[in-house]
Structures are given as C-alpha cells and as structure tokens.
Symmetry: C2
DNA sequence: GCGTGATTGCGACCTGGACGCAAGAGGTTC
DNA sequence: GAACCTCTTGCGTCCAGGTCGCAATCACGC
C-alpha cells in the first residue's frame, strides 16, 4: 500500500498485518475506517501485549499524529473494538481501566503496596477455572479484573 | 446497656456483640463514637455476610434511623472501618463497589450476562494462591475484585 | 462542666466516562 | 467524479461515584 503512513512501531511487518486484520474485521462488520480509528488501532497494536495503556495514554499517542481527535471519539472507537472482540479492557485497581489486544493470554497481578503489575501465565488459572465450572457451574474469565495482592518485593519489605 | 436503641436485626445477641466489638476497635484506635458511626456499623453487621451493600444502600438504611446523616460522613466512616480492617470493599463489576465485614471468607463470582452474584468458598482458591506465591512470588488476595464470567443458567441459555 | 481536637454537614469539586446533536466524511452507486 | 446516504466526529454537556475543605458541632478525658 504505497503512501500509507508507517505504523508506529513496525516489528518486521507483523504490526502492519495485525492492524490490517483489525481494519478488515471492522469493515466486515459494516463499519467505516477513518484516520482516527486507524491511528487508535495502530497505537493499540504498537503497544504490544505487555503495556497497559489507559484511555488517556491512547488519546495522547493518537494526538501525536492527529492532534484534533476528540476524547469521546477514541472512547467510541475503543467500545467498537471491544464489541468486535478485538480488544479488552482490564481494571487494574482503582482508577481508569487499561486496554490491550484480546489475543494475549496473561493475567494481571497488581501489588496493592507499590502498584507494580506482575503478569502471570493464564495456564496458572486453568485448574481453578475447571474447578469452578465443575463445582459451581460458573465459567470464569479472570481477565476482566486484575488480581490484587502483594508482590515479592513488598512482601519481603514488610517481613524484614 | 439500658436505653440503647436496639440493633437493626438482632439474631440472638450475636449482632450486638459484633457491633460492640467493632466499637471497641474504633475506640482502641483513638477514634470517637458517634450516633452515625454506630448506625453505620449496625447496618453492616445486620446485613450479614451475604448481602452486597453499596454505599447508597448503607446511606439509605442509616437514614431510616438518622435522617440527617450526610453521605460524605458515611463514606468517611466506611474508610475508617476499612483502615481498621473491620470491613472490606469489593468491586463487583462496573458501578459502585460493595461493602461487607472483613471476616467472611467467600469469593464473589459475577455473571456478566445477568449480573447474578455467585459465592464460592475461599478454599477453592487456595491452590492457586499457593501456586502464585511459589512460582511468581505474588501473595494474591482474591477478595478485592469479583471474578467475572458466565453463570450456569446463562451458559445453558447461550448453549441451547 | 470545660476544653480541645475529632467528626460532621454542606457544598464544591474531581475523575472517568457517556451522550445528544449538528456538521463532516467514508464508501457505494451511477 | 459527483451525488447520496448513513456512519462517525467534535463539541459541549451531563452523569455516577466518590473526595475534600471548611466552619460548626460534639465526644470524651479531665
């Protein structure tokens, strides 16, 4: 696609593919592509799976390229992407929620003392999911809320 | 204590003891007892461990007895009680958080489809807690956020 | 009872986000 | 490539849930 503004952080083309895939999904659902939507998608893809962007961050990064995009536009884009299943939002604690691509599989552990976010493989949670399904009939999705607690460093600090 | 206004729902005196215990803790920490604080504590104790009161509910129930208590007073009382470790607040989903006594041991599972709150014994979570502590060094407390997912009824509905 | 400092009520304020509306812009058709 | 239809945007306003500053009030040790 000649003339296309380059993606924010292109790692060997995979980001471009990810962006185009999301664009295709949006179009397939009957929605339109606009500059602000593409920029929002690019920010999300470029952030990778291990940064935890809040809406304000996304607004800021989109505005680097398109300074006049309204906040509400970005909120609406994020809602549309979430409805499509492309992204999810995660509550990390009090305060704003964070957004990232839905295809990652890690779970967030947030230290209540220092705010550090530790990532845990989703496999850790599989046994509990099974148990809850079998015993309570509840199909749990742990991603939507982080799990609070105390990280190793803060545990050591308070023990010492 | 003659002349004491009766506790909201006294089940054989245990509620009175619970209230007095909390009052004693507050006093021990150098704080003062007021009518609004006592009423707030009574509402929390009377609610038992299996109702999920939001701040607005608590304000409403306190005002049945003391109509002029300000919202902010109750928020401040709740903060004080939480700081003492007497109560905790739990985020059940989007919207306001709920308050209950800290001594209960159940975990909340919230259905994203119908909003039903299912309670699961905290023992279910012990294995995962141990695993997270051993492998990641993270001491998890699952109570602060509910776990979202789909309840048995809604799973059946969407499958059928 | 008195003094003092914690607590209260009031109202303003704050954050994070949703919404209604008119104007603007994708994308399809011809 | 122009017209048209409808989706999307920007703006401003509004909302929920909660927090805070301040003067007045009240609990409680003496």
């Amino acid at each position: 696609m000649p003339g296309r503004r380059e993606v924010l952080r292109n790692r060997g083309g995979t980001s471009v593919n990810a962006v185009e895939g999301i664009v295709a999904k949006l179009r397939a659902s009957g929605q339109r592509m606009t500059a602000s939507r593409r920029a929002t998608i690019e920010v999300l893809v470029a952030s990778g799976n291990h940064r935890h962007l809040i809406a304000e961050d996304i607004v800021g990064e989109v505005r680097v390229h398109l300074p006049d995009v309204a906040e509400s536009t970005i909120y609406r884009t994020l809602s549309a992407l979430e409805e499509l299943g492309v992204i999810i939002h995660v509550h990390m604690g009090h305060g704003p929620s964070t957004f990232h691509l839905a295809d990652d599989t890690h779970q967030h552990l947030v230290c209540q003392a220092c705010g550090t976010v530790v990532e845990a493989d989703a496999n850790f949670f599989q046994a509990l999911r099974t148990k809850l399904r079998d015993r309570v009939g509840f199909d749990a999705d742990f991603r939507h809320f982080a799990i609070t607690g105390t990280c190793a460093a803060c545990s050591a600090k308070s023990a010492g």
